[in-house]
């Protein structure tokens, strides 16, 4: 699904990311961990063509992301609150994103029903602009919008941060159900080792922009990661 080749990003002379070769298979749920400054968001931004690599390239479904924009048709992402439109109501936001992904208003409405438990009645039908909702509810909107229109590849940066505990658990269920029932490829970064080992079947550990560990998730993974972060 996604191939990374000789990818390097520098700010001034400091190299913040350097990945020689990394391939993410279709249907894989790919987890990214690492301390602050390890290059997680930089990697996602490069995959989404939001920043320009100094060297190398990202190929998404055999499309080089900085050469053609066709990858946008099957990829969606939620990185941070810059992905929300503050002056829209949540419904209007979903309709707008839906329109861009070819989902009709009525379809969006019926599709949203399944997330009512996750929204806890605090998001839809509130007659409030997104900019006036709490951080947690804003995040829920962005996360769910990333699932709209059945994208083949979903990229989520720190999806669990800012969510309350029961919402974290609910969201984990949503992602897991998706992984079971569809061939969607997930790229998820998180500081929560528990959640990420539970959700992802492959975990990559970044340190200072370099891939340090590349693990297939099994019963030892959590312990391995924990021992790395302890030192």
């Amino acid at each position: 699904m996604i191939q990374i080749e000789k990818l390097s990003k520098k700010y001034e002379d400091k190299e913040v990311l350097n990945i020689d070769q990394l391939t993410i298979q279709k249907g894989e749920s790919f987890g990214l961990v690492g301390n602050n400054g390890a290059g997680k968001t930089t990697l996602f931004n490069l995959i989404l063509d939001l920043i320009k690599p100094n060297e190398g390239q990202v190929i998404n479904n055999s499309i080089t992301v900085n050469k053609s924009e066709d990858w946008k048709k099957h990829t969606s992402a939620f990185i941070d609150e810059n992905f929300l439109i503050g002056y829209l109501t949540p419904e209007e936001y979903f309709y707008f994103v839906g329109e861009l992904r070819g989902v009709k208003k009525s379809q969006v409405d019926s599709w949203l029903l399944q997330f009512e438990g996750f929204f806890k009645g605090e998001v839809l039908g509130q007659k409030k602009y997104i900019r006036n909702l709490s951080k947690g509810n804003q995040k829920k909107i962005g996360l769910i919008a990333a699932f709209l229109g059945h994208p083949e590849c979903v990229i989520l940066d720190e999806p669990f941060a800012n969510l309350d505990p029961s919402s974290q658990i609910r969201f984990k269920e949503i992602v897991k159900k998706h992984i079971e029932n569809t061939t969607t490829t997930f790229l998820i970064s998180s500081h929560d080792l528990n959640h990420i080992t539970e959700v992802c079947n492959r975990i990559v550990l970044l340190e200072k922009g370099v891939v340090l560990k590349d693990l297939t998730t099994d019963s030892d993974t959590f312990a391995k990661l924990e021992s790395y972060f302890k030192t």
């Binding site: 990185i79 503050g86 006036n132």
Partner: protein, 490 residues
């Protein structure tokens, strides 16, 4: 923690704002512009003084000036009511530090004096006071006059804070204005003349300064108590709850993706503070023609007429178009990862501007009052705006990288912050091209040919839209990373 420390931070906040990250040459230019503006304003007062003196030699000049000051105060009230920022915006980071609330509040209230509205006495009234002394008024009288006006300005500063957007205040000002106009026209009583006489009485009795300054002090105290009582996160420091405004653009739903974009842009315009300010400005552009069409000096000069006509219908496209990607700066990353092309993006912006040109054209039918000939200028100007003007604005937008905070009011110099040599260069074709097109045809074949040439250029532009927008889209995508980087800095 002293007041001094606060001001040090204030200084840093000012000079470390992202808008200062421009080339040194631009900084010098902005500096010169501001200096020029100050000098211009300072010359204005004495200029008017001498003009009035010459025009009405039998009338007391200062009495006329005082009548004018009355209107200035009225305008100031309205301007302050709409545009003056409440000072409590970035106090939150201080509340928990070991600083007395008293210090914080006093600092806040003193800081509010830096608002540009409080410069008017120094720039406008002080030069007049100096001129009066030169012209023979005793300096204490002139000084008393100035200090009174200064005090009134500062009283207004705190009064606006106290009324805090209450509509009742605005309505009272409105009623007062209507009443004043009514009295002026239908009775012998004149509010302006009474005001002028009042000011004169005050300057004749310097002891009255005690009263005025006491009122100022009282206002300060009231403002202090007002803020003090609301110094909690859920009171004065809380954001006001907003009601969702449904705008009834649902019919646009039938127009597919283009409709979705237009709907969004209209919501952007009507639900955010900053674009609303720009809408107001572009509304003012509609009346640009009144200035030129009514004066004989101008209304025979075809070049000036073309210039004015393009402005009348192009106001929105000028103010909105040149900031095109910036309007979406808050969520630019979203748009860049969605399934949409720059071509589509620009197309919807173009349609929005065209719709506004058309609305402006409909409203400006009142220019028919000046005759068909003038209206032909307006119509051909509108066609030019649709077919060419909009493109130039979108083109210049590609080089405009200042992020816009949509729901924050623009400060006094907000537009000069975006100054760059590129933007300056773009004003040449923006203003010059229509004049040039008209002039060339007019010169060789007369006025009718001028209208035809201007309209034809617009129609040609609309016909070749696909090609032109593709070209502009290339520039946008070429500058994509730079734009994203600049927008993420906000």
């Amino acid at each position: 923690m002293t007041i001094l420390k606060f001001w040090q931070l204030e200084f840093k906040a000012f000079f470390r704002a992202p808008q200062w990250e421009v080339a040194a040459i631009a900084k010098i230019f902005i500096g010169l512009m501001v200096l020029f503006m100050f000098m211009y304003l300072m010359a204005l007062g004495p200029g008017i003084y001498y003009i009035l003196k010459k025009m009405f030699p039998n009338h007391s000049t200062i009495d006329l000036i005082n009548q004018g000051v009355f209107f200035l105060f009225l305008i100031e009230c309205v301007a302050r009511f709409f545009f003056q920022q409440p000072p409590s915006t970035h106090i939150q980071s201080w509340i928990l530090l070991p600083i007395k609330k008293r210090t914080l509040l006093n600092n806040l209230l003193l800081r509010s004096l830096l608002s540009p509205y409080n410069f008017t006495p120094w720039l406008l009234y002080l030069p007049v006071a100096v001129v009066r002394v030169i012209e023979g008024t005793f300096w204490t009288t002139s000084g008393t006059w100035f200090i009174h006006l200064l005090c009134i300005t500062l009283i207004l500063n705190y009064l606006i804070l106290l009324v805090n957007k209450s509509n009742r205040f605005f309505i009272s000002i409105l009623i007062l204005t209507v009443l004043g106009v009514g009295l002026e026209f239908y009775t012998d009583f004149s509010l302006t003349k009474t005001f002028a006489r009042g000011i004169e009485w005050l300057e004749q009795n310097p002891i009255s300064l005690l009263v005025t300054s006491a009122i100022l002090f009282l206002m300060y105290k009231l403002a202090y108590q007002y803020l003090r009582a609301r110094f909690y996160l859920d009171l004065g420091l809380a954001k006001k709850p907003e009601k969702v405004r449904q705008l009834g653009f649902a019919f646009l739903g039938g127009y597919g993706r283009l409709g979705a974009f237009l709907k969004n842009d209209l919501r952007l315009l009507f639900r955010n503070t900053r674009p609303k300010q720009d809408l107001l400005v572009s509304f003012m552009f509609l009346f640009y023609g009144l200035l030129f069409f009514s004066m004989e000096m101008y209304n025979t000069n075809s070049i000036i007429l073309v210039f004015a006509s393009v402005m009348i219908t192009g106001g929105f496209s000028f103010t909105y178009g040149q900031k095109v990607p910036s309007w979406d700066s808050e969520y630019y990353a979203l748009l860049m990862t969605q399934n949409l092309t720059y071509r589509e993006y620009l197309d919807s912006k173009w349609w929005l501007m065209v719709v506004f040109v058309m609305i402006s054209l409909i409203v400006s039918t009142f220019y028919l009052f000046f005759g068909w000939n003038i209206f032909l200028y307006v119509v051909s100007g509108a066609l030019y705006n649709m077919g060419i003007g909009c493109y130039i604005n979108l083109y210049s937008g590609a080089y405009y990288h200042l992020p816009i905070k949509l729901n924050v009011k623009a400060g006094a110099f907000a537009n000069s912050k975006a100054f760059s040599l590129t933007q300056l260069l773009f004003t040449i074709p923006k203003l010059g091209l229509p004049v040039l097109i008209f002039f060339m045809a007019d010169f060789f074949m007369g006025e009718s040919a001028g209208f035809l040439a201007l309209s034809a250029s617009g129609i040609l532009g609309m016909v070749t839209k696909k090609y032109v927008l593709n070209h502009i889209a290339k520039i946008y995508s070429h500058r994509k990373y730079k734009t994203i980087e600049a927008f993420l800095k906000n």
